[in-house]
């Protein structure tokens, strides 16, 4: 150990009382910094990994359909989940949502509840595992085949005036807008967690689907949660990647077509009937019979190739029947078409293709996806005028952009389906803003407190070094150089800071354990969402602990350096004469 280091340690012990008091101030500062950082990390952890995960997920795919009414439904859930799993890395869990807002009628009381379907596979879900049951069990609900069972949180059970074994009546709308009702038996009640979670109730997913009149492949949305999300911003990049992978193809149906004189198989594509699209295909097609302009008004109209028309023995004005097998149904879909015009073509890909009014697809394709769907080149000149499998909405930067996007969408007169890839930043940026504000308030408060303490520490350090000016003069007189003087003091303060930081860390960890034991019963206060089972939640992170230590040692170093350097520049004689 060098002489300077030995002197520094000796000085630490020599001026015990002063150093202990100084060390306590530094330790308290360190403790406060660590506590506040851990608390704000805890808030972030709760909001991102608990609240948002269940509220909107980290990334979400949503599909809205408007054929004859607005519906939020994904018709082919497996397809979208497969694309998501192939494209997005770091997925902790991915699941499809089945559920609805329902009006719940208990014993003389009513309440609005979010009813969510869960399967028996979800029994291992950490969310269900950590529930504290008051009565009954989750298995009694999710494995119950004898009755339609429901799981409630205690607060909702109280609101509805029901207990285990009671029945509740629910009223909801199916996704197609039909009124539906059911009687459910309460088979599990769990302790209330937060105002946010209390609204949610669970039942078997297959029963929930039945209530909502949804097929097995259909869902309300697809939710993805990342593993151990430490950098929340990373979901944006993942969502952008997923968005690029979801580019839609042109919608089509391979159907059997029958006329009075014959039958054939055709690939049907749907033409948009807005002015811009009509201009595209009016220019493109060489019409040999009929009037292509009639397609705008004839909602069952079909544009048929000459060759096919001859095969079927039809002319403009004739009626055709078409039918196809849907992907997820056993019964064929059938409809009628009216020939409005015939076209000639030299393109081989159009020989077996016919074009129908978009309304035909709105009545058939979107609700009954075809088993056989033809591929049509997106580079084809007609592509801009054809109906797509869905419209992929642009990504939004934040909640405001997200809301504006949907406002613009609702002002427009669109039909078909739209798909949106959302991250928690768009759908829950109010929660994220809350997190920033809470963090900011926490940090501001701690730095004000920190500044107050620091002023004391700085003053004490300066006083200490000033009082030892004669000692500095003595050391200089016996041959110690200025640099050694500075190093002595800086080392002394540095070691004091490090020891204080360690002590401060130990105290902070102990206080975290102590504060976590307190239970806060806030009732229905929204701040309950920041607690875990009524307890404060601290997440000490190594990086933030090291940052706190770095801040304190840096400040101490700077004060010690500049003060001791100033003192070391005094002449030896002046230093020896110094008197406080």
């Amino acid at each position: 150990m060098s002489v300077v280091t030995k002197i520094s340690f000796r000085n630490l012990i020599r001026q015990r009382r002063r150093n202990i008091l100084l060390g306590i101030c530094m330790a308290v500062s360190m403790c406060i910094l660590i506590l506040v950082f851990a608390f704000t990390s805890g808030i972030t952890d709760i909001l991102f990994n608990k609240v948002l995960v269940y509220m909107s997920g980290h990334i979400r795919i949503e599909m809205t359909e408007n054929t004859n009414s607005f519906k939020q439904i994904i018709r082919e859930t497996d397809r979208f989940m497969r694309i998501a799993e192939e494209t997005v890395d770091g997925i902790g869990e991915i699941y499809s949502e089945v559920g609805s807002f329902v009006r719940c009628l208990g014993n003389g009381k009513t309440s609005n509840v979010v009813l969510i379907g869960m399967s028996s596979d979800d029994l291992d879900d950490p969310f269900l595992q950590q529930m504290k049951m008051v009565e009954g069990s989750v298995e009694d609900v999710l494995l119950n085949t004898e009755e339609d069972a429901i799981f409630l949180f205690q607060q909702t059970a109280d609101d509805l005036n029901v207990k285990l074994g009671d029945t509740v009546k629910v009223r909801l709308n199916t996704f197609s807008g039909q009124v539906q009702s059911a009687v459910l038996t309460v088979r599990a009640i769990a302790e209330s967690q937060s105002m946010f979670m209390d609204m949610v109730s669970f039942m078997r997913e297959d029963k929930c689907r039945e209530l909502l009149n949804m097929r097995e492949q259909e869902s309300i949305g697809i939710v993805m949660n990342m593993k151990n999300l430490e950098n929340p911003m990373s979901v944006i990049e993942k969502a952008n990647k997923l968005h690029a992978a979801l580019k839609p193809d042109i919608a089509g149906i391979t159907a059997g077509v029958t006329s009075l004189n014959g039958e054939s198989e055709l690939d049907l594509l749907a033409l948009l009937t807005d002015d811009e699209s009509m201009a595209i295909y009016t220019d493109y097609f060489t019409v040999t019979a009929g009037d292509i302009a009639q397609l705008k008004d004839e909602k069952t109209g079909i544009l048929l190739g000459e060759q096919k028309a001859q095969e079927l023995g039809v002319v403009p004005g004739d009626t055709l029947s078409f039918s196809y097998r849907p992907r997820f149904d056993q019964t064929d879909r059938a409809d009628e078409l009216k020939v409005v015009a015939l076209f000639s073509t030299n393109s081989p890909e159009l020989n077996n293709t016919a074009f129908v009014h978009e309304e035909v697809f709105y009545n058939n394709y979107f609700s009954y996806l075809p088993e056989l769907e033809p591929k049509f080149a997106e580079e084809h000149p007609l592509a801009p005028a054809l109906v797509l499998q869905y419209i992929l909405l642009d990504r939004s930067a934040d909640s405001d952009a997200y809301m504006k996007k949907y406002q613009d969408l609702r002002k427009g007169e669109w039909k078909g389906a739209v798909v949106d890839v959302q991250t928690m930043y768009e759908t829950a940026s109010m929660i994220i803003s809350l997190q920033y504000v809470l963090n900011f308030i926490g940090m501001a408060a701690v730095f004000i407190l920190f500044a107050v303490i620091l002023i004391g520490v700085i003053n004490t350090l300066r006083m200490t070094i000033r009082e030892r000016t004669r000692e500095i003069g003595t050391n200089r007189a016996i041959g110690m150089q200025r640099a050694d003087i500075v190093n002595t003091f800086v080392s002394e303060i540095f070691f004091l800071a490090v020891i204080s930081c360690v002590v401060g860390l130990i105290i902070a960890l102990g206080l975290m354990q102590l504060f976590s034991l307190f239970v806060f019963d806030l009732g229905k206060n929204p701040l309950t969402m920041l607690l875990v089972d009524g307890h404060l939640h601290f997440v000490p992170r190594i990086s933030l602990i090291l940052l706190s230590c770095y801040i304190i040692t840096c400040i101490s170093f700077c004060i010690a350096f500049f003060t001791s350097r100033r003192a070391s520049k005094m002449s030896v004689a002046e230093a020896l004469r110094h008197y406080e």
Partner: protein, 260 residues
């Protein structure tokens, strides 16, 4: 005496042969077509509508609006006139699309059939003129016979048909209904509406039919919620006119100007 018996016998035979035809129940499709004919307005209709909504936990709420309807174009326009927080808001259907107008933001939004009107239990779909023949067919019993029964209704014992109908399409609010309608003019007097699972959800009464230019219009309608007992709404029509409505009425600019 023999002549008398002969006359009676002839009358009985005549009644047997032709009376069953005369007294046969109408076919279900006939009844539904008659309801459609009764409800479809070949003329335009303008009316003031007052909705009194009663909920035990919320008290009484009164909504007033002006309602314009043109069935031949499937168009309607509703402009709210009361209460103050709804005044100036509107709802427009031009046959293909439905819109909601908000006066405070001066914006139109494309809405669906399930959009509630003025925060009431009535929806845009309820205002649409959709034909019973397109939406429903008459239910059949186990033997395949249509469920049409002759009954009397109320203390006045009005002779009615009770008809049970099942939805043919999935985008209809109530998948099953039971309708009581007068036997002579096929005026709907009462309906029971059922959910998809077969639970009675709503009972509606249509009374005080008045004749305006040869059309029967119910001035007083009561909707009773059978799911949440105590909830009910009363719809009263007044100031009805069947005069022609100008085309520009069923447009966004008109609604916007009206709401200023």
């Amino acid at each position: 005496m023999k002549k008398l018996y002969k006359r009676i016998a002839i009358k009985l035979i005549f009644s047997f042969l032709f009376g069953s035809t005369l007294w046969a129940l109408p076919a279900g499709s006939q009844i539904l077509a008659a309801i459609d004919e009764q409800q479809e307005m070949s003329e335009d209709i303008t009316a003031k509508v007052k909705i009194t909504q009663q909920k035990p936990d919320q008290g009484v709420r009164i909504l007033e609006c002006v309602f314009y309807r043109r069935d031949r174009d499937d168009a309607f326009l509703i402009v709210m006139t009361a209460p103050d927080n709804e005044k100036g808001n509107g709802y427009l259907s031009d046959g293909d699309n439905m819109y909601m107008y908000r006066r405070n933001t001066r914006t139109f939004q494309h809405v669906g059939r399930n959009e509630n009107i003025g925060g009431s239990d009535a929806s845009m779909g309820d205002m649409e003129q959709r034909k019973y023949t397109e939406l429903y067919h008459v239910a059949k019993d186990a033997s395949g016979k249509e469920i049409i029964v002759e009954e009397t209704l109320g203390s006045a014992k009005i002779p009615v048909y009770r008809v049970e109908v099942i939805a043919k399409v999935s985008d209809v609010k109530y998948p099953k209904m039971v309708i009581w309608l007068t036997r002579d003019k096929f005026l709907v007097l009462k309906t029971d509406s059922y959910s998809l699972s077969g639970t009675l959800m709503e009972t509606a009464y249509f009374t005080q039919y008045t004749v305006i230019q040869g059309r029967y219009i119910p001035l007083w309608q009561k909707f009773i919620d059978r799911f949440e007992e105590g909830n009910m709404s009363v719809v009263e029509l007044s100031g009805i006119s069947l005069n022609r409505i100008d085309n520009y009425v069923f447009t966004k600019p008109y609604l916007e100007n009206l709401s200023k």
